[in-house]
């Protein structure tokens, strides 16, 4: 059995969280730098976001004031032990968010937890001796605009495309475009929601390895960008940078489709132990 020291995990995660909150995914900044549009306002908005990301990195400022709720996706091998892992993850959130915004509150009283805990953690048990932890910061602006559609098998691919377009049409303007659209199809309700969130972690611009899913991603992206919402929702043709679809087998009587919208401040990263 491999042993991993929880104190090391806490220290490394604290550093990862801070770096992620300052510097968003560089693929997004690159895409905004290379934007091709006829709209002057969209070009201006893209230039402002690029400038923002340059200032954030240079001045070590958080790229967005909504430093989000802290999400973790943990792959834990069955030949590795890390005693106190959940506490270490929450400890890292507590430490890293000392200088970031405390955005987590009781849902009824709205009383703030004051250190951005508890972290939202999904554990996946795997074979082997690897421990891999992926962090994703999720702000309210985009998460609030996410949706779940319980379609029927008869709705098929057209129903899936229409659902994604509906979600972006209804919520895209509030979700800080250009968006990454995560889509989870299949399983039961929470499977679809989890897949839609995990879909955001895929490198921007990389389509699914499944040819039929990749084709569906491309077609859906085309439809989403035809909505004309554009960068910062000021009108234009870059509403989304990617539609990423993840699937899981589902019941013969079901077709759950979860759509998770991610703002352009895509803040994520992984660390292995």
């Amino acid at each position: 059995m491999k042993q991993v020291d929880a104190a090391v995990v806490q220290r490394e995660l604290t550093r990862l969280i801070t770096d992620c909150l300052i510097i968003p995914d560089k693929a997004v900044t690159k895409a905004l730098t290379e934007i091709r549009t006829d709209s002057e306002i969209e070009r201006t908005a893209a230039a402002i976001i690029v400038e923002n990301n340059i200032i954030a990195e240079r001045e070590r400022l958080y790229c967005c004031q909504d430093t989000g709720q802290a999400l973790f996706f943990v792959k834990l091998g069955d030949e590795v032990v890390c005693q106190g892992l959940t506490d270490a993850i929450n400890g890292a959130v507590h430490d890293a968010y000392k200088t970031a915004r405390k955005s987590v509150a009781d849902p009824l009283t709205r009383k703030n937890t004051d250190d951005n805990t508890p972290a939202i953690i999904e554990y996946t048990l795997t074979r082997g001796d690897a421990l891999e932890i992926t962090f994703l910061a999720k702000g309210a602006g985009s998460e609030n605009m996410s949706r779940l559609y319980m379609l029927t098998p008869a709705d098929g691919e057209q129903g899936i495309i229409d659902s994604v377009v509906d979600a972006v049409k209804k919520g895209g303007k509030n979700a800080c475009p250009p968006l990454i659209v995560g889509v989870g199809i299949g399983g039961v309700t929470e499977t679809a929601c989890s897949l839609s969130k995990r879909a955001l972690l895929r490198p921007v611009g990389q389509n699914s390895e499944r040819a039929d899913v990749a084709a569906l991603e491309k077609e859906t992206l085309k439809r989403v960008n035809a909505l004309g919402i554009g960068v910062a929702a000021l009108g234009g043709n870059l509403t989304a940078l990617a539609v990423n679809i993840e699937t899981a087998p589902t019941h013969i009587g079901m077709l759950p489709v979860a759509v998770n919208l991610q703002c352009h401040s895509l803040r994520h990263g992984s660390v292995k132990f």
Partner: protein, 170 residues
């Protein structure tokens, strides 16, 4: 940047001129804005309903929907981009009835709020969501003036200079 954003708007001195703004125009704001988001709006609305004194004069005021990150050492404010305006829609007509003239945030407003903004000769400006570090660099002064227990949702009086935004409802 002045070539991209030609129009200057000073707050509160240019309040009388906001009726001349046109939809889609880019403006560079300078002057006083008050931050307020969900919980501050709830308290402002309750104070109005209970005829209590407000923490700042609402008449002719500009509210920025924003909850900044804490200021780093040596800084006056942390990152401070706009939050989603639609969550304030429930309180906005009441605030407009009491003199609010300028709102700065991101995203769409309800039909009721759009109509109320027009009826009151007010203006809604869209800031660029996620450009929080850039907006931080436009803040010259920052003073905590109300509801410190709300943390980032407290009301701060900010003086900004050349803060870019787009006229969205007027």
């Amino acid at each position: 940047m002045n070539t991209i954003y030609p129009k200057k708007l000073r707050l509160p001195s240019d309040i009388a001129h906001i009726k001349d703004l046109r939809m889609g125009e880019i403006v560079m704001l300078s002057g006083t804005v008050y931050t307020a988001r969900d919980q501050a709006h709830k308290r402002l609305a309750a104070a109005i309903e209970n005829c209590e004194q407000l923490p700042f004069p609402l008449d002719g005021a500009a509210i920025y929907y924003c909850g900044p990150t804490p200021a780093a050492e040596g800084q006056i404010i942390g990152s401070c981009g706009p939050t989603t305006s639609a969550r304030m829609d429930a309180y906005t007509p009441l605030l407009l009835d009491n003199g609010l003239k300028v709102m700065i945030g991101k995203g769409v407003r309800s039909d009721d709020v759009t109509q109320a903004i027009k009826e009151h000769g007010a203006v809604y400006l869209s800031a660029i969501g996620g450009a929080a570090a850039l907006y931080q660099s436009t803040v010259r002064t920052c003073e905590l003036i109300a509801y410190p227990d709300l943390g980032c949702e407290a009301v701060y009086k900010l003086t900004v200079e050349d803060f870019p935004a787009m006229v969205t409802i007027v």
